[in-house]
Every structure is written in structure tokens, then in C-alpha cells.
């Protein structure tokens, strides 16, 4: 069945982006505006907001109320956790990760950034580049978000003055350079009035670039910008052994998601860490047979030879095999209230593999405001540090800068099973 003609035909895939800014920079208003102008603010949600706005003695509808999720947050009037929002333009579906910008919430920002391909960094036109702006930009670049968009908001409060915008751009570029940020763009907006978000408005005539939504529509999707090696962590092995169906007797399907690169029937592969080699006999998705599978596709691989493969193994192309390692250098972001203790053993989850790990060394902690390196004996929540980890069994990893999927890991505290750290392999 195909969709009717006049239903928007979404064919430009999906873009995940992150919004960050200090409290009151207008993040909630911007998100509300995007949802509103893309016509997905639905009528009854709007009614509820109108009622609440009136109760709080506000006359205009406060778009930021759209994004206040939890009761605790409503009581405190702040956002405390990452929230996800959705909108669609008819050509693209968007997932927004909305990260609160308070001092203590580095962990939220890192969480939200981990799945994003673009970050919108909000700057209040009256305040210019602040410490938080630098911190957000550092974290975005640390987590490897390829595209940054600095949105200079509240232009209406500086009389839509181009000089203000240009000064902020120059300030920002001065430090972005030091961070090695590759792709950064700037846009003047008024989230409140909707200028240059979806519509251009009438007061920013001096700005000739695309609107914020146009930038989002044109942003490259993840994995499309450079060649990547094929990485396929095995999640699950399918051995039906259905007595009623002898054809399935020898069926061994290796189930997983193509985290990067692509694979075709006939390709030579290696299985790591064992190093066994074979060729791809078939690629399946549901009942269908595919000639090839591309990044982010969940499929089942069948190999020509019978080799022992289980969850936690990594299938790669034979010519692109990384080395198994038992020690890694990484940037670690500590997420837990209980400090990291070098005396303890933790669990590291890397792709679909779990290994025990200990901290061999904390090389330094990074002050996220000044980017200065300082010595540290342990790590507290929201600390970011360069560490060396010793692993009980080898993992097969890439540098995070080369591959987000095989360069990332989380740290789990086995006593609580909590996720206490997020790491990026150097």
C-alpha cells in the first residue's frame, strides 16, 4: 500500500540534533517555535498551555511551556533532564535532544550529544559569548558532533542590530579555532517572534543566509560525510533448530546492526577478536534477502564457513580489521554521584561486549570552563578526564574520532548496575 498523493512524503531521512544554552537563553522557546511553526503543536496541547500561561499571569502564549516535562521541573520552573521531541517537515523527520544548561549538568549535555549529528548553541544577543557557551561548544566537539550552529537569540532586544551579531560571531570564532571545531555557522534569530526560524521575518533583512529550518533540512545525515570501515557488533545468534523444518537445521544467523560502512554478499570478513575469516553468504532482513546492507541497518548475516561466533564479537571486512587491545586511553565523563575510585573494578560495555576494567591512571582532569588540565586522584560527577583503563579481556576498538560506535563505551557500577561513566577512546 502506498501513501496517498497529498500526504507529505518523507524521503530525506532523519536528523538528530541537540539544543543547548544557558538558562533563559530561549531554548524552550526555540523548540516550541520549531514545533509550532512546523504545525505540529497540536490543538489540545495548545489549550493546556494557554490555560497555564493565563494562570501565571502572562498574556502571550509562552511557547517554552511546551517543553516542561516533569512535575518536579514544573514546580522548580527549570528543566533537569534530557527530553526528546519530535517534529517532521514533510521531507525530514527530526529528533531533538533537549539538554538543560545548568552548571551541574555536563552529564545531560554529553548524554544528549552522544546521538546528535548537529548542535544548536544558543547565545543571548545581549550577553554575548559566555563561559557556558564555551563549555557547551567544548562538550559538543568532545562528543564529536560534526556540525555546530550558533543561534544568536533575542535579536529583537538589541534592535536587530547587525553589529551585535558580528561581534558575537568574531568572539566565538576566536575560541572555536582553539577547540578545532570544523564546521560552525551563525544565525541571528528571535525565537519569541519567530524571526529566521521557519519564516524570515521583516527585521533581519541584512542577513542573507538560510533560515534555521533550512539549515536543518540541508544538514548531512550521520555517516554520509566520509568513508567509514564496516563494523558489525554481533548482538544475537539465531539457531532455530526447528525439528519441523530440516532446512533450518544448519541455519546460523548473526544478528546485529551495521554501525558503520557497508557490506555486500560475497565480501571477505574477519571475526574479532578470534581473527577467523569467511565470506558473506547472505544478508537477511525479516524474510527478505538483501544484496548489501548499509550503515544503521539492522540485518542478519550468514557466513559461508562454520565459525564459532557469539554476542560480543565484531565482524569487520578482512582488510579493515583493527587490533584487539587490553588497555585503552580515553576521555572519560563521570556521570555518577558516587565518585570514580581507582581502587574499584568496574564493568565497561563497548559495542555488545562487557569486560571488567580498572583505572590505571588519571592523567588529568579538564576544567570545562577554562579547558585547563589539572591533576586528579578521583573523579566526581560531571568531571571530564583523560584516563588509562586496564581491561580483563581484550576489546576491538577504533578511536572515537574515527568511529563513534566502536570508539565509545559506558562504565557500569556492578553494585547498583547504574551507568556511571561515558568514555571516548583516544
Amino acid at each position: 500500500m502506498s501513501a496517498p498523493e497529498h500526504l507529505p512524503d518523507i524521503d530525506n531521512g532523519l536528523l538528530r540534533f541537540l539544543t543547548c544554552g544557558s538558562v533563559d537563553d530561549g531554548k524552550s522557546t526555540l523548540i516550541g517555535r520549531l514545533l509550532f511553526d512546523s504545525k505540529t503543536i497540536l490543538a489540545d496541547t495548545l489549550n493546556a498551555i494557554e490555560r497555564t500561561s493565563a494562570r501565571r499571569g502572562m498574556s502571550a502564549v509562552d511557547l517554552s511551556l511546551l517543553t516542561d516535562g516533569l512535575q518536579a521541573e514544573r514546580e522548580q520552573g527549570i528543566t533537569i533532564d534530557v527530553a526528546y521531541r519530535y517534529f517532521s517537515t514533510g521531507t525530514r523527520k527530526y529528533i531533538i535532544a533537549d539538554a538543560p544548561g545548568h552548571e551541574q549538568y555536563t552529564r545531560n549535555m554529553v548524554t544528549a550529544a552522544s546521538t546528535a549529528n548537529l548542535a544548536i548553541i544558543l547565545v543571548d544577543a545581549r550577553k554575548g559569548v559566555l563561559t557556558q557557551t564555551r563549555r557547551h561548544s567544548y562538550l559538543a566537539s568532545l562528543v564529536g558532533i560534526p556540525h555546530l550552529l550558533v543561534a544568536v537569540n533575542k535579536m529583537d532586544l538589541v534592535d536587530y542590530d547587525q553589529a551585535v551579531f558580528e561581534r558575537i560571531r568574531a568572539d566565538y570564532l576566536a575560541f572555536a579555532d582553539k577547540l578545532g571545531i570544523r564546521d560552525v555557522r551563525f544565525i541571528p534569530i528571535s525565537a519569541l517572534n519567530g524571526d529566521m526560524i521557519v519564516d524570515r521575518g521583516s527585521r533581519l533583512g541584512w542577513y542573507a543566509g538560510p533560515t534555521l529550518l533550512e539549515i536543518l533540512e540541508a544538514a548531512p545525515a550521520a555517516h554520509t560525510e566520509r568513508a567509514e570501515d564496516f563494523r558489525f557488533p554481533v548482538q544475537y545468534v539465531c539457531r532455530p533448530q526447528d525439528a519441523a523444518n530440516p532446512e533450518l537445521h544448519d541455519y546460523r544467523g548473526f544478528m546485529g546492526r551495521v554501525e558503520s560502512g557497508e557490506i555486500a554478499v560475497g565480501d571477505a570478513v574477519s571475526v574479532l577478536p578470534s581473527g577467523a575469516t569467511s565470506r558473506v553468504k547472505a544478508i537477511e532482513l525479516g524474510g527478505a534477502r538483501l544484496e548489501r546492507a548499509i550503515h544503521e541497518q539492522s540485518v542478519t548475516l550468514l557466513l559461508e564457513d562454520e565459525i564459532d561466533i557469539s554476542r560480543g564479537d565484531l565482524i569487520v571486512k578482512a582488510a579493515e580489521a583493527p587490533e584487539p587491545v587490553k588497555q585503552i586511553d580515553a576521555t572519560l565523563c563521570w556521570l555518577s554521584e558516587a565518585p570514580l575510585s581507582p581502587a574499584r573494578t568496574y564493568l565497561v560495555r563497548h559495542t555488545t561486549r562487557e569486560v571488567k576494567a580498572k583505572v590505571a591512571q588519571i592523567a588529568h582532569r579538564v576544567d570545562v570552563n577554562t579547558l585547563a588540565h589539572e591533576p586528579a586522584a578521583q573523579l566526581a560527577m560531571n568531571d571530564i578526564a583523560r584516563v588509562t583503563l586496564k581491561l580483563a579481556q581484550p576489546i576491538v576498538a577504533d578511536a572515537y574520532a574515527d568511529n563513534r560506535a566502536t570508539g565509545a563505551f559506558i562504565v557500569i557500577d556492578e553494585s547498583t548496575n547504574n551507568t556511571v561513566g561515558a568514555g571516548m577512546i583516544a
Binding site: L7, T111, D229, T419
Partner: protein, 304 residues
Amino acid sequence: MSTLTKQTLSHLDWLEAEAIHILREVAGQCANPALLFSGGKDSICLLRLAEKAFRPGRFPFPLLHIDTGHNYPEVTEFRDKRAAELGERLIVRSVEDSMARGTVVLKHAGESRNKHQSVTLLEAIEEFGFDACIGGARRDEEKARAKERIMSFRDEFGQWDPKNQRPELWNLYNARSHKGENIRAFPISNWTELDVWQYIAREQLELPSIYFAHVRPVVRRNGLLQPVTPITPAQPDDRVEDVQVRFRTVGDITCTAPVESDADTVDKILLETATTTITERGATRMDDQTSEASMEQRKKEGYF
């Protein structure tokens, strides 16, 4: 290096691939999961995704339904038929049994049993020792859900603590739990109502008939249509009308309202959904209207 490819998945293929990945993580990490299947459209999508994730093997989990005893018969019949077609095990546990045991006590006979499903669910989790329950909840349904994790941890009392959730980074899901604790896994967290209908259309999924426009007796109350059924009879001064309606969600009869519609095919529903002006829960869930925070409250108590 492989050759540079510009090809990307369509948004629906991407959502499907993500959901399959999540289902396989549950299967890979949890010893004894279950998939919550109600016969509703979201869980019907889950079943198709589970087929894509695990066939030609069997599902590595049974299907579980918590029956309030107040479900539309079209839906429970569909539930049984679908489970039989798939050849997968279906476990049904009922709120009425919990009432008989005295673990569910209604405030009054007419009280909605919807929120009491939590108790029966927790009892089923304990009975079978499930360490994870896969559900069809979506983040776009309701504000409290927007901050829900894909793998959401529940303590021994089935409680969700929104202020103390596990950070969830990249696609490295942490589904670990100790005995007695439980993970709720939501593979279609990132889907919207429109995505669900687009998927149903693309996969040509069969649905219970009450999702499509049909004429049924209703009364109008507080801007909602309330179906007239043996469980929800008309009151003496109600004006009963025959209206062409369809259901957008199919939960408990006492708290699921239909909307006026003449959409009798998936294509027509798709169009209506794309242009609709009312969110799904607002239009159809009487229990969520009581308080803006009511979903959050129920989730803290162990709701899905």
C-alpha cells in the same frame, strides 16, 4: 577504506532498524524478558519488528497481556488470533483475578481498572520472574514520557524514579538489573503516531476492526465521545447518538474514547493523522485529562 556512500535509510527504515536493534539488545542482555501485547496498534507494530528481529527463530520471549476484563472483544479476539498465527506463547493475566485475590481494591464498582493494571503486571512479573518487559510506549504520547529512557529501570516495587534515571548514551543500552528489579524496554520510543500509521501502511499490518470508522452508539461528555456499552451504559438523562467513529487507541473500555471519523482505510487514517489537530491521548484518554501530571504519577507507581 570502503567507498564513500551517500545513501541513507528513509526515516521509516531508520526507525525500524533502531527498534530491531533494541529488541535484540533486550534478548542479548536479559535472561527472561516478555513482550507486552495488548492487540493495540503500537504492540502490533512491535510484533512485526520482533519478526524482523528474530525470524526464522522463535521470539526469545513470550507475549504478555494484562487484561482489565474491560477490553473491546474485537481487540481480545484479535490478540488471540495474532498470537496463534505467529505460533508464539501468549500469557494473559487479569485484573479481575487480582481483585479476587484482594490485591486490587476498587474505590467503587465503576472505577476505571486502567491504573490497576500496574498491580497485575507486577504480580505477573513476580510469578514468571521476568527481568524485562518490552512495551510499545512512545515519547511523543505525553510530556512525562519525553524523558523516559529506552531501557527504563524499575525498582523492586515497580517504581520509576524520573529524577534518578540511568544516563543513556549512544546506543549502548544498559538493561542490567538485580533479582526482583525490572527493566521496561521501549523499542518504538522515537516513533510518533504518524510513524506508526505509516509503518502499518507499509507493512500492511492487520488491525482490530475498531480502528476503522464504524457506526456506534455514543454519548457526548466533556467534549469526548463515550461509547455506550454494557460496561458503560447510558445514564437516564444521556442523549444517545449513533455516530461514525474510530478508535485511535484501544485500551480499557471505561477510559478509551473514539473520535468522529469516516476514515475506514489505513490510507485515510494516515491522511487524517497527518493533518490532525489533536494529540492522541488528549482526544482519547479520559484518565489523562484529570491532571497534567497523571501519567507521571501512574508511571511512578509501576504503570507501563
